[in-house]
Structures are given as structure tokens and as C-alpha cells.
Symmetry: C3
Subunit: 348 residues, 3 copies
């Protein structure tokens, strides 16, 4: 018994005292080190398109919401209520007409409970059929989502954390009638909910999009401005937060796009957020957490461009101390150091 106790104590001594590192990161920081803007929101990518699943239950999610809050995140955005046959909760309006799989968990209720607990705002992401709007049947996409909004607001609207809507379909250009979908769905969501804010997160038609990598031509900054000026002019009063994804252009091109995006958002009375991609698009493994240096570079540009807020795609895989990709935990460490946030997750 004594021997075991000694063993434990000696282990503790070894861990806390042995093999100390006498250096600190501050010693090696460069004099002109960039200065980022902080992240206030994250997507919740549970109905995923291309990111493998972590298989978390509520305990793991509870822990992760705590890690988010500790880092300064106060808003979580459900990436979508469903994609094709997969849905995030047993929505009766969708089960009634669509050929979807019955889900095992009510993720919407779970995320709302956790957001309530941690005093966060929850934004509900719409259902993306993955087909109707692709083949031009945009009315079907609108109808489904209007019924879904009614159902969801009735069932979950009582949660104090239910504070916004996310129009989840992702486009980079004037995709056939997408503006109409955003407008109709956004208008209805605001109408039923006492004007809760709505968010969109389009992408830039840049060199790192699949389309351009497969041969399409990237748009220039001014083409981007021209096209999005037109799109946004139709969304005034319907979209409150414009949060372009920041990963489809090259790093040295990003700042100019951020400036344009901010200008456009201001023009149409929207908040301009940036969507920091926290995964690395430049590696053969698609995708693992981004290098801190790259994230910092983008955070510095966003700060200089005067963005009104920042969401990341996404915390739980790519920035979390709880992520199954443990590189993410070290990204969290670097982030906390940069902003002088006390890191409660250092010893994990």
C-alpha cells in the first residue's frame, strides 16, 4: 500500500518537476508578430458533408461547449438541419414528405440545452435537400424550409438560447434562384420569430474551390464585387449577418476580398463577419487542423479589414482541446496564448 502511494507521489513529482522546459513561447515570438481578431462563434458540423464524425454523446458535447465558452465563443450555429437523407432531429415536416433516414438523436434539443446552460446564442441552420435547388426546383426547397421553420419554432422556440437562423445553402455566385430561396426563407424565419437575425455564409469563387480546381475560372475581386452587389441588393432586410468563408482564395488575396465584403455588407445594412476556416486546405489529407501561423495571418487581415465578428468552421474538429484530431488542441493552446486567455484545457 505504502509502495503504491510512493509510486503515485513520485509520479506526480516526476510529472510536475522533472524534465522541465525552461523556455517560454514569448521568448521566441517575433518582434513584429501579427495581431488577430478574436473568434466569437462556431458552426456545429453534425450533419456533415465532408468532415468525418467524432461520435460524441451529450457528455462530450457538454465538455466541448465549455471549452468554446472558455475561449470566448458565445454563439453556435447548426450547420444545417439536414442534408439529403440525413437529418438532425426527427422533424415531422420532413419525415412526412422526404425519403430521409430516421435519426437516433434529437440534436437540436441537445444543442439548445447546452447553449442554454453555457449562455450562448444558438442559430438554427435550414434543411438542404441537396437536390431540389440543384435542379432548379427552388420552390420545393423554399416550401420544405418554411414548414420546417414553423415546426421548429413551435417546438424549440421557447429555449432562451434560440436566437437566430442560418440560411445553410452555400453558393459562390448567382446560382439559379438561390437569392429567392434566401429571401423567402429568411423572411419567413424572421416573421415567425419576432425578427431574430439571419446569417448566410457563402464562399468566394477562388482558386481553392472544387470548381476552379476542376477547370473553372476563378472570379477576380471586381467580378466578385459586381456579382455580390447584385445578390445582396435582393437580400436587404432579410439577411442580417454576411459571413463569407475565407479559405477558397489564396492567403495573399484574402485581404482585398475582406475589404470588398465589408463594403458590401455596410451598403446593405448587414453585419460583416468573416468565417475563419480552421482546417488546412493545402494538404493532401483533406482535412486536418490549420497551422496556427495561417490562422493568425487570416485573423490579422480580418482585424485590419474591420470585420464585425468572426465565426469558425469549425471549433469541435479543428480548434478544440477535445477534438479527436489532437493538433486542434494545440491550436487552442496557441490561440489562448495569443489573446492572453487563461487556458483551462492545457492539461488534458
Amino acid at each position: 500500500m505504502k509502495k503504491i502511494l510512493s509510486f503515485i507521489l513520485l509520479s506526480a513529482i516526476f510529472v510536475s518537476c522533472g524534465n522541465r522546459c525552461e523556455f517560454t513561447n514569448a521568448q521566441f515570438e517575433t518582434p513584429g508578430c501579427l495581431r488577430g481578431m478574436p473568434i466569437n462563434a462556431t458552426f456545429l458540423d453534425e450533419v456533415s458533408w465532408d468532415i468525418p464524425h467524432q461520435n460524441w454523446g451529450v457528455e462530450e458535447w457538454d465538455k466541448d461547449f465549455r471549452a468554446m465558452r472558455d475561449m470566448g465563443i458565445n454563439t453556435v450555429v447548426l450547420i444545417r438541419a439536414g442534408l439529403g437523407r440525413w437529418i438532425a432531429a426527427p422533424f415531422e415536416s420532413i419525415l412526412a414528405t422526404e425519403d430521409v433516414y430516421y435519426p437516433p438523436v434529437d440534436l437540436v434539443e441537445m444543442f439548445l440545452c447546452l447553449a442554454d446552460k453555457y449562455d450562448m446564442a444558438f442559430y438554427f441552420g435550414m434543411y438542404d435537400s441537396g437536390k431540389y435547388w440543384h435542379i432548379g426546383d427552388y420552390m420545393k426547397e423554399i416550401d420544405l424550409n418554411i414548414k420546417l421553420i414553423d415546426e421548429v419554432w413551435a417546438k424549440y422556440g421557447h429555449h432562451k438560447s434560440f436566437q437566430g437562423w442560418y440560411l445553410s445553402q452555400e453558393v459562390s455566385r448567382r446560382t439559379k434562384n438561390m437569392t429567392k430561396i434566401y429571401a423567402e426563407v429568411g423572411r419567413h424565419a424572421k416573421a415567425v420569430s419576432g425578427n431574430l437575425p439571419t446569417m448566410v455564409s457563402p464562399y468566394i469563387h477562388g482558386v481553392k474551390t472544387d470548381q476552379v480546381m476542376w477547370g473553372d475560372k476563378a472570379t477576380t475581386v471586381s467580378e466578385h464585387e459586381y456579382e455580390w452587389n447584385e445578390i445582396l441588393s435582393n437580400l436587404e432586410g432579410v439577411v442580417d449577418i454576411l459571413a463569407f468563408q475565407d479559405g477558397q482564395v489564396d492567403y495573399h488575396e484574402l485581404y482585398d476580398y475582406l475589404v470588398v465584403n465589408k463594403k458590401l455588407a455596410d451598403k446593405y445594412g448587414m453585419k460583416c463577419w468573416t468565417n475563419f476556416e480552421s482546417f488546412d486546405r493545402d494538404m493532401p489529407i483533406r482535412f486536418l487542423p490549420i497551422k496556427w501561423e495561417k490562422l493568425l495571418l487570416k485573423m490579422d487581415m480580418a482585424r485590419r479589414a474591420g470585420m464585425d465578428g468572426a465565426i469558425t468552421f469549425e471549433f469541435s474538429h479543428f480548434m478544440s482541446p477535445n477534438s479527436e484530431y489532437s493538433q486542434a488542441g494545440h491550436l487552442y493552446d496557441r490561440y489562448c496564448e495569443h489573446f492572453g486567455i487563461k487556458n483551462k484545457w492545457k492539461n488534458r
Copy 2:
């Protein structure tokens, strides 16, 4: 000394009492949640084709066999004795004629010792030349395996866990003479071993096969039935367990295939197992553990189709609490919860 002790105790208190999660997964389970059939077997993918290696020694394997047993697995199947130049043990019959690399570990002996220890059945997977049968030289593939069976039975047959054979070559259609290989090799394996059971695990020529993704046409359910009726008619009495892989068709197509497979197996006096793929084929990272929701969907279909058993490809990378892909451990957690299995691996 006292200070350190306090530190340890306080840490323990913090870990066990602080930051509690007041929610349970049961609270968020949907009312109509699907109900799966359990898994009774796994492949051991040590001579791998496309899954990176975990570099485990016997200690790590011992631990993993224990985790398998704790989850209800009672059968382990060596995926193959060798593939091309790589072999699982220093088989003299293969070293004598084939240009293979001399292996560092006798994996067959190791797996048999562990299966003995944990009261499991071990199935020995054949050598896959990776060439002879591809170029039509099927007699060479048969000869090599017949000699290998003799050697292996003489050397390892005394283990109580040596309880079956796995015909490891994988096909989806009437590949040239594969039926003859199965028949000859299976017959010989049964003959030398007092009629121990034999297993095959073919795949369905579906939308997620490499062949179809590269332009070939997927077979329909009735084409599949027609072709496999002919193949299996030549394997009556030689193959005891038919375990089709379940991942090359889309989820909504799977049930119909399972029903056909069961019908065919019954017709030819075979047990019909399903081979649950526990990795995710739909992601750009090829491959990480599957989402629990997807596995459950397949397990529900297998239950409804009346399968006689279920093997998974495979436990140690994709479902194990010891896997280097830690998502796998959470899949294990979800699995245990679903079946009400006491999870001894929760705190890992």
C-alpha cells in the same frame, strides 16, 4: 510532500466532481430510434491493403482482444495470411517459392494465443498473391494455398481457438475462375481440419466500388441475385458462411441486397452474415471511423433482414477504444449504450 498530495487529491475531486454533465444521452434519444443487431466477429486487418498500420505489439493486441470480448465479439478472422510480398508469419511453403519479404512477427501464433486466452474462435485467412488470380493463373493461387493450409494446420491446428478458415480473395462478380479457387481451397481446408467452417466476404458491385466510381456500371439487385445464384451454386458444401460487405451500395439500397443475400444463402445451406463496414466511405479522408448513425442504420437493416451473424471490418481501427483513431472509441461507447453493455472502457 503534503502539498503534492493535496494537489493529487484536489485533481481527483475536480475530475470526479467538477464540471459535471447533468444530461444523459437517453434524454435526447428519438422516440422511434432504430434498433440494431449486434456484432459477433471482426476481421484482423494486419496485412492490410488500404488501412494504415497501428504498429501494435502483443500488449496492445492483448488489450484490444479484451475490448472486443467486452463488447460481445467471439470470433476473429485474419484478413489474409499474406498479400503479394507481405506475409503474416514465416510460412515455409510461401517463402520457398514466392518472392516475399521475411516478416518480423509470427502474427498467426500471436493471434491464436490471444484468441485462446479470450475464448474466441480464430479463422485463418488464405494467402492472396495479388497477381496469379488477376492474370488468370488460378491453379497457382490454389496450389500455394493448398500447401499453406497443410503447413498451417500442422503447425497451428492444435490451438483450441483455431476454428475456421477464411477464403480471402475478394470479388464482386463472376471473376474468372474465382469460384474454382474458393471451391478447391475451401474443400481442402475442410478436409484437413475435420470440416471446420469456411467463410467468404464478397462485395456488391455497387456505386461505391472503385470500379463503378471509375466508370463501370453498378449491377442492379436482380443482376446481383442472378450472378450470385450461379456462383453460390458451385460453392454448396464448401462455403459455410457468406458475409457480404455492406459498404459499396448506398444506404437506401442496402436492405434489398441483404434480403437477396439471405435468400441465396438459405438456398445453398450457408449461414448468411453481414459484414458491417465500420469506416466511412463518404468522406475525403479514406478512411476514418463511421458515424454511429450510419452504422446503426445498417445494423437495423441487417436485423430486419434476418441475418445469422455479423462481422465488422474492422474493430481495431474503427470501433475500438484502443484505436489510434480516437473517434473509434466513441463509436464503441455509442455501441455499448445502444445494447446496454456495461462499458469498461469509458475512462480511457
Copy 3:
């Protein structure tokens, strides 16, 4: 309090005594198991081309240098001072003329401090513009690096661990004027530093190069010998260590190449090292740690071919007990067992 103490003690008893594995790896080692040559050096791949980043700070790096040393590594080689727009430290000579991103950390100073601490030799890798030499403007590549060498030697040359230079541009054949870059840059580096040794690490134009996988023809062993005889004849006295990468040819082809490389190095008065790739090129995930059996096979060939030393690409992702790819830790375990090295990192 007492209850918690009991809990801790019981946990300790359980961990140290329960579920013991009565087997050892030695029991299952094959009688003719191959015998490798040890690794004495590693690259530091912080300005990476294709390996995702681990986001380590100095604490994590300190720990990793210790793990290297414990395994027998005495030399670390910075893979490159920069690649395109990304640089490893705020080099004034590069910032002055190149459109690069300002870095957050002085990695050169950090690695030198750690190499000093752990009594290792540090080799400085050159800046790779990623463009000038590709488009034939080799003088620009040379000029940049000559200025960089002067700056770096003045700023960091006082470190006792600064013991060599690495010519970082990677080629497999007579790429336009690369010999001139190696020669000019290498000569200058040696001149300013009192003749410190220089290293190159080319690759073989084999079946696993991107070029050949995209349709180019692999060179034969004799073509390789012919071409590199000519290249090396121009580098006599400028390059001290020739360390070909060992992963672009098939395993069964490697030995013949090693023999030729050794012969060529001897002819031109160079040390012949091998560069053990410790990642697996044969898997769909590009890249995770290599299987121990494969590494051992290459280490055995290198020993038999009489190599003078061995560097690996690279320890921290693919062989380290601290790697975020935990398979790497098990590779470390296997390596230590093979060489009878006391493994201080077994319990991690």
C-alpha cells in the same frame, strides 16, 4: 477524503496489476527477423509542403527533442528556411525583397536553443523560393540564399549546435541548373562557416514519385547511376553528405539503389546516408506513420548496403511518442525494442 484516496489507490492497483498481458513481443519474433541500422538524425518539417502542422510551442518541441535524444538521434536538420511565401524566422534579407508573410515565431532560434540543450547538431536548411529555380531563374535562387547564409551565420552562428547546412531544394534528375545552385550555395555556406558540412537529400525518379504516377517513366538503376554520377561529379568538395530519400521506389528495388548511391558517394568523397521515410506511401491517406515491418525492411537493406548514417523524414510526425498521430508512438516503441533501447516514453 478517505474515499477519494481509496479511489486513487484502487485505480493505481487496477492499472498496475489488473489485466496483465502475460506475453512478450520476443515470444512472437520470427527466428530470422531482419536487423536494422539505427537512425542518427531527423528533419524538422516545420515549413511543410504536404504534412499538416501539429501546432506545437516550445514546450512541446522541448519534449520532442528529448524523445529524439532518448532514441539515439543526435542531429536535427531544418527542412528549409522557407518555402514560397512562408518563412521560418523573420529573415531580413528575404523580407526585404520577397513577398513573404511575416512569421509569428523565430523557429531557427528556438530549434538552436533546444539543440544546444540536448547536445545535438543543427543543420540549417536553405530557402526554397518554390518558383525561381522552377522557371530557370537559378541566379535569383542562389543570390537569395547567399544573402540568407550571411544573415543567418551572423545572427545564429554563435550557437554551439549550429554545425551544418542543408541544401533544401529537392530534385530527382538533372533539373535545369540545380547542380549550379547546390554548388554555389554550398560553397558559400562552407566558406562563411569554417567549412561546416553540407547535406543534400535528393529522391530517386521511381514508381512512387508524383511524376511517374502521372505518366512519366521511372528511371532504371543504371540510368540513375549514370545521371547522378554526372551530377555528383560537379559537387565534389561542396556536398559532404548525400542522403537519398528511400521511399519513391518499391521495397524490392531499394537495395540496388542503396548500393549504387554508396558507390557514387564513395567515389566523390561524400558520406552516404540514407533518408528513411517514416511515413507510408502506399495508403489512401497521404500520409500516416509507416508500418514497423516496412521500416525494418528498409533499415536492414541500409545496414547491408553499408550506409554511413541515417536521417528520417521525419521523427516528430511519424516516429515520435509525442506525435499527434499516435501510431507514431507505437513505431517508437517497436524501434526501441528492436535496438534494446530503454524506452522512457512507454507510459504516455
